[in-house]
């Protein structure tokens, strides 16, 4: 009996931990700071970092490319930020013919940098 009770307790603890784990980043992502947005802007416009401007029109970016969609209205194109994260992390996994580099999978950007880029892109109303 005690063994079973211990097991339940253990499961509860894991659940609580899992809930905590999913809450922490959610809370962190819910309110990007001005510093996050500024960092994301730099990543998006710098050739040696994300260089998003090479292919996308982005408000505030000079000489944009036109290979990918215009990201001015990203809130309409991709309403959920988690989808934007998946696209930036590894779009070829979703669409094999895409020219979009797999920024996360190929370690071009860290997960934190990807979240900063998203914070910047979604800061445009």
């Amino acid at each position: 009996m005690t063994g079973k009770g211990g097991c339940v307790k253990h499961e509860l603890r894991i659940l609580a931990l899992a809930a905590l784990c999913s809450l922490v980043p959610l809370a962190a992502r819910a309110a990007p700071t001005a510093a996050d947005i500024a960092a994301g802007r730099k990543i998006a416009f710098t050739k040696t970092l994300g260089n998003c401007i090479a292919c996308h029109v982005i408000p505030g970016g000079a000489q944009p490319g036109n290979i990918g969609p215009n990201l001015t209205h990203i809130r309409v194109l991709v309403p959920h930020r988690k989808d934007a994260y998946a696209i930036i992390f590894d779009e070829p996994a979703r669409k094999p013919q895409t020219p979009m580099p797999p920024f996360g999978r190929n370690h071009i950007l860290t997960p934190a940098q990807i979240r900063q880029v998203i914070a910047f892109l979604y800061s445009h109303k």
Partner: protein, 276 residues
């Protein structure tokens, strides 16, 4: 069981047939793709690359061409080409028609070495045959000699021959494989940009179509401030996509140039060229 085997064989047969290298069929499909993308653009115009897609860049180019920036390179290349080697021979002795008006026939497959020979590599082979050291394959004197030889070939239709032999077809296939394979941290193939998105812009640069792209080389590139051969551009592309470049005389680049130029058969030589 037997029926299944027969079905399997029947299915495998066309696959095997499709897998056999067929440069003529590839070329028809390749040129057909661009015709589909830009039905109004005549094939011969593809040699003008990015200038087909940007009126402002075209206007600037036409102004620049009143005094072509590769003019000095062509003159210098001619002087080098006409000079005698210490043994009394010259470059003309190494090529058919004295090396004049022959750029459209390169790259060639050399059955003796089993390797593709581009025009710059043929120039170096000529030097070695006459006891002289090889020149750098990317820029400098060799690019100037190349520029002169290409200038004498302007308007000649590209006519790259892929002999129907196993080694020649293997080199061609390797070049094709390279062209379509994704590489580098940014995960691009040559085709990602120059087949899928010709005429689109990467930042301020207009992507040239793969069709006709070799016809204007060597080029004077404003970004470089001097002449460069096609392998110099290959190296630059590899760096842009964060992929380790190959050696200028590598089999990889020879085969790529072979495939890429063969796809443009029938288009006129337009080099040397000027690009931003």
């Amino acid at each position: 069981m037997r029926r299944w085997l027969l079905l399997l064989l029947a299915l495998a047969a066309p696959v095997a047939a499709a897998a056999a290298p067929n440069p003529a069929a590839d070329r028809a499909a390749f040129q057909g793709w661009f015709r589909h993308l830009f039905p109004q653009l005549p094939l011969a115009k593809y040699v003008d690359g990015p200038y087909n897609f940007s009126a402002s860049e075209r206007a600037q180019w036409q102004q620049i061409m009143e005094l072509p920036p590769y003019g000095f390179a062509v003159d210098h290349g001619k002087a080098l080409f006409d000079a005698r080697f210490p043994d009394g021979a010259g470059y003309a002795s190494c090529f058919p028609h004295g090396g004049i008006g022959i750029a459209q026939d390169y790259p060639q497959f050399d059955p003796k070495t089993g390797r593709v020979v581009t025009l710059p590599i043929a120039i170096n082979r000529c030097r070695v045959a006459h006891g002289l050291p090889k020149l750098k394959l990317t820029t400098g004197d060799l690019a100037d000699i190349d520029a002169y030889m290409v200038r004498t070939s302007r308007g000649h239709k590209i006519d790259v021959v892929v002999p129907d032999t196993k080694p020649a077809l293997a080199a061609y296939e390797a070049g094709k494989e390279y062209f379509y394979s994704r590489r580098g941290q940014l995960n691009f193939s040559c085709a990602s940009c120059h087949l899928q998105y010709p005429g689109h812009r990467v930042r301020g640069d207009t992507l040239a179509p793969a069709l006709g792209i070799t016809a204007s080389f060597p080029i004077y590139r404003s970004k470089w401030g001097n002449m460069g051969t096609l392998v110099r551009r290959f190296i630059g592309c590899n760096k842009n996509i964060r992929s380790a470049p190959d050696k200028p005389d590598s089999l990889a680049y020879r085969d790529l140039e072979y495939f890429l130029t063969a796809m443009s058969n029938g288009l006129p030589i337009a080099g040397p060229g000027a690009r931003p």
